[in-house]
């Protein structure tokens, strides 16, 4: 019988067991990276508050519009009914009440998009990318892990913030006799799709950060896509001729926005088509970013 004792040197004691690279490990690593930055934690809390704040403010503006419409109806001797108020809003005008959960979505798009850009571009700026790619030399798993974490975080925060926005806004409209609740058509749909749209924007941001490796440049392009192109498309729709009227619905922000709406509109793509189109845009950025990341020197 022999007993062998190993006097393992200090450097082996905790590292002795062999661990291997797993996707779960990479996910945990990216999670630590995201939340170990104080700036990220502050930003996420502020974003949550901003989505709700802007959402409730937007709801208040809508309330005021409806309130003044009711007042002018009363001045003409009519008693405004809730049906009349609801129908005064043409569908697709963005003033539908069922999409109150997404009233603060624009701020979420801007911040999560920028956060996603930084999640990758800051690694290039600081040189961290070389540590990341040394630990995960296959590279694409690290990108996929970043994408999943960004999508989940932005989805959860946007969805919860959207639900809170709705809950805070509902009492205002009860004064007008409008009975809004979770069972109102489109409310639950809005809550669950708003986060998908924001997650999609975050993935485009991550891809731009990867392709351009530069925070300022990538954020500028992102803002261009989601805030400047819509304005340009708005002008384009003023060009005489039927053709230009129907072009704007195919740009990323409009396709994504259409996905959040319910019901059909004449000559417009259906919500699910808008959703697929938006998904196509996401892949249009995501796939080249992964290919470039895989092949480019870091």
């Amino acid at each position: 019988m022999s007993t062998t004792t190993h006097n393992a040197p200090a450097s082996r004691s905790a590292a002795g067991a062999r661990h291997s690279l797993t996707f779960g490990g990479i996910l945990r690593s990216e999670w630590i990276k995201l939340f170990s930055l104080l700036s990220t934690r502050i930003l996420l809390v502020l974003t949550f508050a901003a989505i709700i704040g802007v959402g409730v403010l937007t709801a208040f503006v809508r309330y005021n519009i409806l309130d003044s419409m009711a007042a002018s109806a009363r001045a003409q001797g009519l008693e405004p009914s809730s049906d009349m108020l609801e129908q005064s809003m043409p569908p697709g005008s963005g003033l539908d009440l069922y999409n109150l959960p997404n009233a603060g979505l624009q701020i979420g798009i801007l911040i999560f998009g920028a956060l996603a850009v930084l999640f990758m571009a800051s690694e290039y700026a600081t040189g961290m990318i070389r540590s990341t790619m040394s630990a995960v030399p296959a590279r694409t798993p690290a990108f996929a892990a970043k994408a999943i974490i960004l999508a989940v975080v932005s989805y959860v925060i946007t969805t919860v913030a959207g639900a809170v926005t709705f809950l805070l806004s509902v009492p205002m409209f009860q004064g007008l006799g409008l009975d809004l609740s979770w069972s109102t058509d489109g409310v639950v749909y809005s809550v669950f799709t708003g986060g998908l749209y924001v997650a999609g924007v975050a993935l485009i941001g991550l891809s731009l950060g990867t392709l351009l490796r530069n925070s300022a440049g990538a954020i500028t392009v992102l803002v261009g896509i989601f805030f400047v192109i819509p304005i340009a498309a708005g002008f384009a729709s003023l060009i005489p001729g039927e053709f230009w009227k129907y072009v704007p619905q195919y740009i990323p922000s409009e396709a994504g926005g259409r996905f959040l709406a319910i019901g059909e509109i004449d000559a417009y793509i259906d919500p699910w088509q808008g959703g697929l189109l938006f998904l196509g845009y996401v892949l249009l950025f995501l796939v080249p970013a992964m290919i470039v990341l895989k092949n480019r020197d870091v």
Binding site: P9, A10, S11, R12, S13, A14, A15, G16, R18, H19, S20, L21, T22, G25, I26, R28, S29, E30, I32, K33, S36, L37, L38, S39, S122, E123, T126, G127, M128, I129, R130, S131, M133, S134, A135, V136, P137, A138, N295, D297, V298
Partner: protein, 321 residues
């Protein structure tokens, strides 16, 4: 064990590494020596799969780095002390690196302790001095207790105590049977640390031999002799593998004899010798001999008539990237 075969890298049209082949063996410290821009860092980045070779291949422990199941256990690398997010604490940086391989927190604390980073581990890495950054990079390289260690200029910015620590660490790891590949442009550091040297210049391997062979092989010991009868002494010493140069009156440089032999000849022939200075060949001499034609970024002294511009600063040698 690292094996490079015809490894080449060109950036645009510029060749950084021109088809090098070498083997870095386990159980010894292999120094990778060369002037700035010689291709050291590029070669190391190719070993780590960060840069894609233009042609050729390199394997670590038999496989390309990216194909290992647990890369951090195979190779630990310090390629760039700045490969850290500046806003993240050293501890969280190491924790995130460790998480990829499921390396426990205990190991993170261990490498922090080994590298002497306890006091600053919770501070943002962006505020670290160059030396602290190097220690953090070494800590990250050691995380997976790798079989092969690649360190690019590890002693840069370290204080004397840190330099000694790195030297002892790499010697200890090599004695454990690990492969240690260490780059430097500091010849003196290499002379004290490395067993084997690979010298690179302009992307080509100039020498690949044990340190002592490189020192011994390139230049023979010389002795400076001052005597009042140079001509006579020269005729006595010269020949039979011994060369004697007269650089100035009464001064000879003798190659091939040691000072004691020269003194004996002088005494036997009653020649007055008033100085005998051995010029010991060092790794530094060997290095300059090897690389004098290969330095890409020479320091240029400002031209013009001699002495007219004494204050003209030499252009700094720039590091190629």
């Amino acid at each position: 064990m690292i094996e490079a075969t015809d490894l080449a890298k060109a950036y645009g049209g510029k060749t950084a590494v021109a088809g090098v082949s070498f083997t870095v063996r386990a159980g010894q410290v292999t120094g990778f020596l060369g002037p700035n821009g010689a291709g050291k860092s590029t070669t190391m980045r190719m070993i780590m799969g960060l840069d894609r070779p233009t042609s050729g291949s390199v394997t670590v422990n038999g496989l390309p780095y990216a194909q290992h199941k647990a890369p951090l256990h195979e190779v630990g690398a310090l390629l760039d002390a700045k490969a850290v997010h500046t806003s993240r604490s050293a501890y969280n940086h190491l924790l995130a690196m460790a998480a990829t391989h499921g390396i426990p927190k205990a190991r993170v604390h261990e490498v922090i302790e080994m590298t002497g980073l306890e006091a600053v581990a919770k501070k943002k890495a962006g505020g670290f001095s160059l030396g602290m950054g190097q220690r953090l990079g070494i800590a990250a390289a050691l995380l997976g207790d790798p079989q092969t260690l690649i360190l690019d200029e590890p002693v840069n910015g370290l204080d004397p105590e840190g330099v000694l620590w790195v030297r002892n660490l790499v010697r200890y790891l090599a004695n454990q049977g690990k492969t240690v590949f260490l780059s430097s442009h500091l010849m003196s550091e290499m002379a004290q640390t490395a067993d084997h040297l690979i010298v690179i210049g302009r992307g080509r391997i100039i020498a690949d031999a044990p340190v002592k062979d490189i020192i011994a092989g390139t230049r023979q010991a010389k002795t400076l002799v001052r005597t009042d009868d140079a001509q006579f002494l020269q005729s006595l010493l010269a020949g039979n593998g011994v060369t004697v140069d007269q650089s100035e009156p009464e001064t000879l440089t003798v190659t091939g004899l040691d000072p004691r032999q020269i003194a004996r000849v002088a005494l036997d022939n009653e020649v007055l010798v008033y100085e005998l200075t051995p010029k010991v060949s060092s790794l530094e001499d060997a290095y300059f001999d090897l690389t004098k034609d290969e330095v890409e970024y020479h320091s240029h002294l400002a031209g013009g008539p001699a002495g007219s511009q004494p204050q003209a600063a030499p252009a700094p040698a720039t590091a190629g990237k």
